[in-house]
């Protein structure tokens, strides 16, 4: 009796400790932080998430979500052509996105009337090219898994060697957006007023399109060409539901995007222990689902605030 009491008193704190430990282990499965692939994915995904959140706010303000989506889908042509010639997919993503952005600018993406048509045409050509390059790649290369990688991303298979390039490209995109912050904002909200104030609206728009193309290419790398708009537009749209101030929205979007990416990585890691056992679920699924949840939650929060205020 004494013995059992004794064991109980000594066991209580320790069992709490083990319970906390077990919970932590259940959430952060052993090895998550120590794993090389996770570290690389967290660093690359983190940089991409921050850039996507910041740039995405302008995309939403400028109502260019469709253009962003088109650029990311076209990225599949870039990724597949890079694979065909044996380059890292990122080069293809960036190259084709910038080219497509230039094409969209030429055809008239800045005029609201021509925008959807121009975007749609370029988008179609992008997919046509992707189908050709993927076919040629699969025929003449001994590869496997390129299609899921290009279309849906595979952040856990990225190499740390890509980090400098990703940071460099992200810096270029952010630099463009920061340099043009005021004129870009004015041109986005009211092009007429901006033009009257002497802002070269078309030039600013073109420079922004370049930043967008780079950002989209970076998103292609982490969550794939088909899903990359989710990371670009989702966090920004959620942030703009919560605040109307652009710089606050940009920071909030970056934070949301980063949180969704990192939590997505963690869930993907944990899913290794879910059914079907030992098959991790795709990271992109988690990231995009989390983005949707945050977007819906932001909507509910904003509605609640309106009702109260």
């Amino acid at each position: 009796m004494t013995r059992s009491l004794h064991t109980r008193t000594t066991w209580t704190p320790r069992s709490t400790e083990t319970a906390v430990h077990a919970l932590l282990r259940a959430i952060v499965e052993p090895g998550f932080f120590a794993d090389g692939a996770v570290q690389t994915a967290a660093a690359l995904g983190g940089v991409v998430a921050v850039v996507a959140g910041l740039i995405g706010v302008f995309t939403v303000i400028r109502s260019q979500a469709f253009a962003g989506h088109a650029l990311s889908d076209i990225g599949s042509a870039g990724g597949s052509s890079a694979y065909l010639v044996g380059l890292a997919p990122l080069w293809g993503f960036v190259g084709i996105s910038v080219l497509a952005a230039a094409a969209m600018e030429r055809i008239g993406v800045q005029r609201a009337r021509g925008r959807d048509v121009a975007t749609g045409i370029v988008l179609g050509v992008g997919f046509a090219l992707a189908s050709l390059f993927l076919y040629l790649g699969m025929t003449y290369h001994n590869g496997s898994g390129e299609i899921p990688t290009i279309l849906f991303g595979s952040v856990f298979t990225l190499s740390a060697a890509e980090l400098p390039l990703v940071i460099g490209l992200g810096a270029v995109a952010l630099l463009v957006a920061l340099t043009l912050y005021r004129p870009l904002l004015l041109a986005s909200v009211s092009p007429e007023l901006a033009a009257a104030r002497g802002v070269r609206v078309r030039l600013v728009g073109a420079a922004y399109l370049l930043a967008l193309a780079i950002t989209v290419a970076l998103c292609d790398l982490t969550i794939g060409a088909i899903l990359s708009t989710a990371l670009l537009v989702g966090p920004a749209a959620a942030a703009l539901r919560l605040t109307s101030r652009p710089h606050r929205a940009a920071l909030l979007a970056a934070a949301i995007s980063l949180a969704c990416t990192w939590l997505g990585l963690l869930l993907a890691w944990d899913s290794f222990y879910w059914p079907p056992l030992r098959h991790g679920w795709p990271v992109s699924f988690f990231i995009v689902t989390l983005v949707l949840i945050v977007y819906l939650a932001a909507g509910a929060l904003a509605r609640g605030r309106r009702l109260r205020g």
């Binding site: 090895g31 794993d35 090389g36 692939a37 996770v38 994915a41 997919f127 046509a128 992707a130 189908s131 050709l132 993927l134 076919y135 790649g137 699969m138 025929t139 003449y140 290369h141 001994n142 590869g143 496997s144 898994g145 390129e146 299609i147 899921p148 990688t149 279309l151 849906f152 595979s154 856990f156 298979t157 990225l158 190499s159 088909i226 890691w269 290794f272 030992r278 098959h279 991790g280 795709p282």
Partner: protein, 330 residues
């Protein structure tokens, strides 16, 4: 022995649709439809190369993979025209889809040898599309009595497989051309004899090096490794993920990485036919840590017969263990 193997190179469906989540499948199929439209027009010229010119009196036969076509021509000799459907070692056989020219070749065949286990399921579709009462189909899976749930489809690496396939080919060819039955039977015996050096090499590996720890990328040579008593340390799920073209879980990748970093394996068997960033990083690690590499193939490489190919793979395995020598490609 005359071997007429017309190589069909126009492989036109680039995607292994099974390996992608259903959500993705629709968009992939849309891409595939575009790819078909483009390649059907682009590959018209090469498609005609697959036309089977059946010399009079010869039995037209098809092997879904070049190794089966090779066995057919070794047994059928001068009375059989054997064609291989998949014979390009530079592409992934798992993502092969048949083109119209393949369909006409298969449709005309009197004897077909195919692997089964979903490895060449396009053959069933073509056969169903051109029904023939006189055609004989040897499906190796059925011949060996394997259930559909059999995980590893690379049956030809199993030393016990091909003698049974050869016996079935002898039987079917004899039924198709009873006049040459004795000739086919003699060739069947000769074929079995050509496998002896390989079987001896496998047995001697098992005697000398049973339990040797090895790492692989895909289950390509697993049956041979098991027959040779090797201990395959790569988790099955990782092998299956790479085979099916899906991203392996980072946990499994780390496990495989550690097999190299901690030198827990003596040999790394690397599928030359299917590579991606993950398998390439394994190859880099193996080279860094001086673990000998053996390149393996799913489709018989040029310049080999089935027996000499298998012997070369097993010898490469022995050389890796005994002399620490890599055989990157055959």
């Amino acid at each position: 022995m005359i071997m007429r193997s017309e190589i069909i190179t126009d492989i036109f469906c680039p995607m292994s649709v099974n390996s992608i989540e259903p959500v993705a499948r629709r968009s992939v199929l849309a891409l595939a439809a575009l790819a078909v439209a483009i390649t059907v027009s682009a590959c018209g010229a090469s498609g005609s190369a697959a036309r089977s010119d059946s010399a009079p009196g010869r039995i037209t036969a098809v092997g879904a993979e070049s190794q089966y076509a090779n066995v057919i021509s070794q047994i059928g000799g001068r009375y059989v025209n054997a064609t291989a459907v998949m014979s390009n070692p530079n592409t992934d056989p798992h993502s092969f889809e048949a083109s119209p020219s393949v369909a006409s070749t298969v449709g005309a065949a009197k004897l077909i040898v195919q692997n089964g286990l979903g490895y060449d399921s396009f053959m069933n579709k073509i056969e169903a599309a051109s029904p023939s009462r006189s055609r004989r189909v040897i499906e190796v899976q059925t011949l060996l009595g394997l259930p559909d749930s059999t995980r590893n489809p690379h049956l030809w690496y199993d030393p016990s497989t091909m003698p049974k396939v050869a016996a079935a080919i002898v039987r079917d060819l004899s039924a198709l051309a009873p006049a040459h039955a004795a000739y086919f039977k003699a060739n069947g015996r000769r074929f079995d004899a050509t496998l002896q050096p390989w079987l001896r090499a496998v047995a001697s590996f098992k005697r000398l090096h049973a339990g040797t720890p090895v790492a692989v990328t895909e289950p390509v040579a697993d049956y041979m490794l098991q027959a040779a008593g090797a201990d395959i340390r790569t988790p099955w799920v990782l092998q299956a993920d790479i085979m099916n073209g899906v991203d392996p879980a980072p946990q499994d990748v780390t496990l495989e990485d550690n097999l190299f970093k901690q030198r827990r394996v003596k040999v790394f068997l690397y599928n030359r036919q299917v590579t991606n960033t993950v398998t390439q990083s394994f190859l880099r690690l193996a080279n860094q840590d001086h673990i000998p590499v053996v390149g393996v193939y799913e489709t018989m490489p040029a310049g080999y017969s089935y027996g000499s190919w298998m012997l070369a793979e097993t010898r490469a395995l022995s050389a890796a263990v005994t002399a620490h020598r890599s055989t990157n490609s055959l």
